[in-house]
C-alpha cells in the first residue's frame, strides 16, 4: 500500500442519502395521514419504530465506548460508522415528539380516566406522570448524547492535530460512558416499554433491553461495513478478518440477548406470581404465541446455529444476510414487547406499523449517510491505525 488514500467516503453515499430522504419522507407522510385516521394506532406504531432506530443509535454508542476501552482493529475500521450513528441521537430526541403528543395512547398512566379507575395506578403517579417522564427523557438524551459528543469531538480533533493524547482521553471517557449507558438504558426501558403495561414489572427487563441494543448495533454495522468494503477506499482496509470479528461479536450478543430473554422467562415462570405472569400469558395466547415462537427461532436459534460456522463469519455477504435478518427481528422483538399490551384481543398488525418503521428508518438512515460522508472513513491519525491496516 504505497500510495495513501484520503479515506474519504465513496461518491455513491450521496445517492443513498437522497434515496433514504425520499423513502423516509414518503413513509412519514403516509404515516402522518394515518395519524388523522387513527391517532392511537399511529402513536403505538410510531413508538415501536422509534425504539428500533433509537436502539441502533444507542447500541452504537455502547459499542463505540467498548471499542475505546478494549482497542482492536475491528473497532478502528468502523469507528466512523459508530460516531455517525451516535450523531443522530439529538435528532432522535426531537423525533420523539409525536409520542409525547399522543402519550395517553400508549401509556395508560397518562390517561386521567384510566388512572381514576385504578387504585394501583394512582399509587404509581408519583413516578409515572407526564412531567417527570419528559424530564427523565431529556436527562437520558442529554447524558448519552453529551457523552457521545465528547468522545466524537476528541476523535475528530485527533484527525486534525494527530495528538495521541486524545486516544487516552477517549479511553478515559469510555469506561464511565459504558457504565452510565447501562444505567440510563435500564431506566429508559422501564419508561419507554415496561410502563406501557404499568402494573407489570420485571427486574431483568433493563438488561434485556441493553442486550437488544447490542444486537441492533452489530446487525447494523455489518451491512454498512459490507457496503463500504465493496467500494474504494475501504476495500483496502476491511478484510475477512474484520468480518470474522464482527461475526463473533454478533454471535456473542445474540447469545447474551437469548440468555436474558430466557432468564426473565425462567424467573417469572418459576415464581408464578399473578402480577408477573400476565405478560407471558398474553404472549402465549393465539397469534401472539406464533410471534413468540418466531422470535425464539429467528432471533436466537437460527442465527446461533449459523454463526457457529467460522466460514460464514468470514464471508461478509452471508454474514450480512444474517445481520439483516436480525435487524428485522429487532423490530419483531420490540413489537412483541409492546403489541400485546396495545391489542389485548389477539394478534394484530396495522399498515401503520410498517409505514412508520420505513418512514423513520429512511429519515434516520439519510441522516446517518449524511454524517458518515462528512469526515474520513478512518481515524487517520489514530496511533493504532498503521498496525491495524498492516493486518497484524
Amino acid at each position: 500500500m504505497s500510495e495513501r488514500p484520503s479515506w474519504s467516503a465513496p461518491a455513491e453515499l450521496a445517492g443513498l442519502e437522497r434515496r433514504a430522504w425520499l423513502v423516509g419522507g414518503c413513509g412519514l407522510a403516509i404515516s402522518v395521514f394515518g395519524a388523522f385516521l387513527n391517532r392511537a394506532q399511529f402513536t403505538q406504531s410510531y413508538l415501536v419504530a422509534w425504539l428500533l432506530w433509537t436502539g441502533i443509535a444507542f447500541g452504537c454508542f455502547a459499542v463505540m465506548a467498548l471499542h475505546h476501552l478494549s482497542g482492536g482493529a475491528w473497532g478502528l475500521m468502523v469507528r466512523r460508522v459508530l460516531e455517525s450513528a451516535t450523531r443522530t441521537i439529538p435528532i432522535l430526541a426531537l423525533l420523539f415528539v409525536p409520542v409525547l403528543i399522543g402519550l395517553s395512547d400508549v401509556y395508560s398512566w397518562a390517561d386521567p380516566e384510566a388512572v381514576a379507575a385504578n387504585e394501583y395506578l394512582q399509587q404509581k403517579t408519583g413516578y409515572l406522570n407526564a412531567g417527570f417522564y419528559i424530564a427523565r427523557f431529556a436527562g437520558y438524551f442529554l447524558i448519552v448524547g453529551g457523552l457521545a459528543w465528547l468522545i466524537r469531538r476528541r476523535s475528530l480533533r485527533q484527525d486534525e492535530t494527530g495528538d495521541p493524547m486524545h486516544s487516552r482521553r477517549m479511553q478515559n471517557l469510555a469506561g464511565p460512558s459504558l457504565g452510565i449507558y447501562v444505567l440510563v438504558a435500564t431506566l429508559a426501558s422501564v419508561d419507554w416499554i415496561m410502563s406501557a403495561d404499568p402494573l407489570w414489572y420485571s427486574s431483568l427487563f433493563g438488561v434485556y433491553f441493553v442486550g437488544g441494543h447490542a444486537v441492533s448495533a452489530f446487525a447494523f454495522i455489518i451491512p454498512v461495513a459490507l457496503w463500504l468494503r465493496e467500494r474504494e477506499p475501504m476495500s483496502r482496509a476491511l478484510t475477512d478478518r474484520h468480518f470474522h470479528d464482527y461475526g463473533k461479536l454478533l454471535f456473542a450478543f445474540v447469545m447474551l440477548w437469548g440468555y436474558f430473554a430466557l432468564s426473565q422467562l425462567l424467573i417469572i415462570w418459576s415464581g408464578n406470581l399473578a402480577e408477573e405472569v400476565t405478560w407471558y400469558v398474553e404472549r402465549t395466547a393465539g397469534g401472539w404465541k406464533t410471534l413468540s415462537l418466531l422470535l425464539a427461532l429467528l432471533h436466537f436459534a437460527l442465527p446461533f446455529l449459523m454463526l457457529l460456522s467460522r466460514g460464514l463469519k468470514r464471508n461478509a455477504r452471508r454474514l450480512a444476510t444474517i445481520a439483516i435478518l436480525l435487524l428485522a427481528m429487532r423490530w419483531v422483538d420490540l413489537y412483541w414487547q409492546l403489541g400485546p399490551t396495545f391489542h389485548h384481543d389477539g394478534f394484530s398488525l396495522h399498515w401503520l406499523d410498517l409505514t412508520t418503521v420505513v418512514g423513520l428508518g429512511g429519515i434516520w438512515l439519510a441522516l446517518f449517510f449524511k454524517f458518515l460522508g462528512q469526515q474520513p472513513l478512518l481515524p487517520i491519525h489514530d496511533p493504532d491505525l498503521e498496525e491495524a491496516l498492516a493486518g497484524e
Binding site: 430466557l262 422467562l265 425462567l266 415462570w269 418459576s270 408464578n272 457457529l308 467460522r310
Partner: protein, 181 residues
C-alpha cells in the same frame, strides 16, 4: 517388507531467519510435490498452515457432536427423571417443564462440548508425546525463540537423500540439518 531406504534418518530440516522465507519455502516444497513435511515456528502463522496445505481440522465437528450429545443427554436425563421415573407435581406446572430444564441442558452442552474439544484435540494431535525425532536436531530449540524450521520427512515418497538436500539448500536456508530417528 522392503527394507527402508533411510535407516536412522527421520528427515531433513532447514532453518530460516524469518517467517517470509519460511512461507516461501513451504510454498515451493508443496509445489515440488512434498506432502510429508511440517513447519515449526515460535508463534502461530496462518499463512504457513495454508502454504503447507493444512485444511480445516475435524475438531469443530467433534465439538459439535459433543455439544449435541450433551444437550440431548442433559435434557433427556431431566425429562426421564421428572416425567417418566419420578413424576412430581410442582405447583401445578406441567411435568415436562422444559423452561426449568434449560439451564442444566445448557451446562451439560458446554461440559460435553469442551471435554470433546480437549480430548479430541489430544486424540488428533497425538499429545502427550514424550519423544519426537525433530528434537534431535541441535538448533531446533530455537524454534520456540526466534528461528523458523521446515522439516521434510523421509517418509515422503518423493524423498531422496541427495535430491531433497539440494532442493532444500536451494531454498536459501540459514542451515540444513539431518534429523535422526
Amino acid at each position: 517388507m522392503e527394507p527402508r531406504r533411510h535407516v536412522g534418518l527421520y528427515g531433513l530440516m532447514a532453518e530460516f531467519d524469518n517467517s517470509e522465507q519460511l512461507i516461501r519455502a513451504s510454498h515451493e516444497a508443496r509445489a515440488k510435490g512434498y506432502r510429508k513435511l511440517d513447519a515449526f515456528t515460535p508463534y502461530p502463522i496462518e499463512e504457513v498452515s495454508e502454504a503447507l496445505g493444512h485444511h480445516g481440522s475435524k475438531l469443530p465437528l467433534i465439538v459439535l457432536i459433543g455439544g449435541i450429545l450433551g444437550a440431548l443427554g442433559g435434557f433427556g436425563l431431566q425429562y426421564w427423571v421428572s416425567v417418566i421415573e419420578y413424576p412430581l407435581n410442582v405447583g401445578g406446572r406441567p411435568l415436562n417443564s422444559w423452561i426449568a430444564f434449560i439451564p442444566v441442558t445448557f451446562e451439560t452442552t458446554i461440559l460435553l462440548a469442551s471435554l470433546s474439544a480437549v480430548l479430541g484435540m489430544l486424540a488428533l494431535n497425538g499429545l502427550p508425546k514424550p519423544y519426537h525425532p525433530v528434537f534431535n536436531a541441535e538448533r531446533f530449540a530455537l524454534a520456540s525463540r526466534d528461528r523458523y524450521f521446515l522439516c521434510i520427512e523421509t517418509a515422503d515418497p518423493g524423498f531422496d537423500r541427495q535430491g531433497t538436500e539440494s532442493f532444500v539448500k536451494g531454498l536459501d536456508p540459514g542451515g540444513v540439518y539431518e534429523v535422526e530417528n
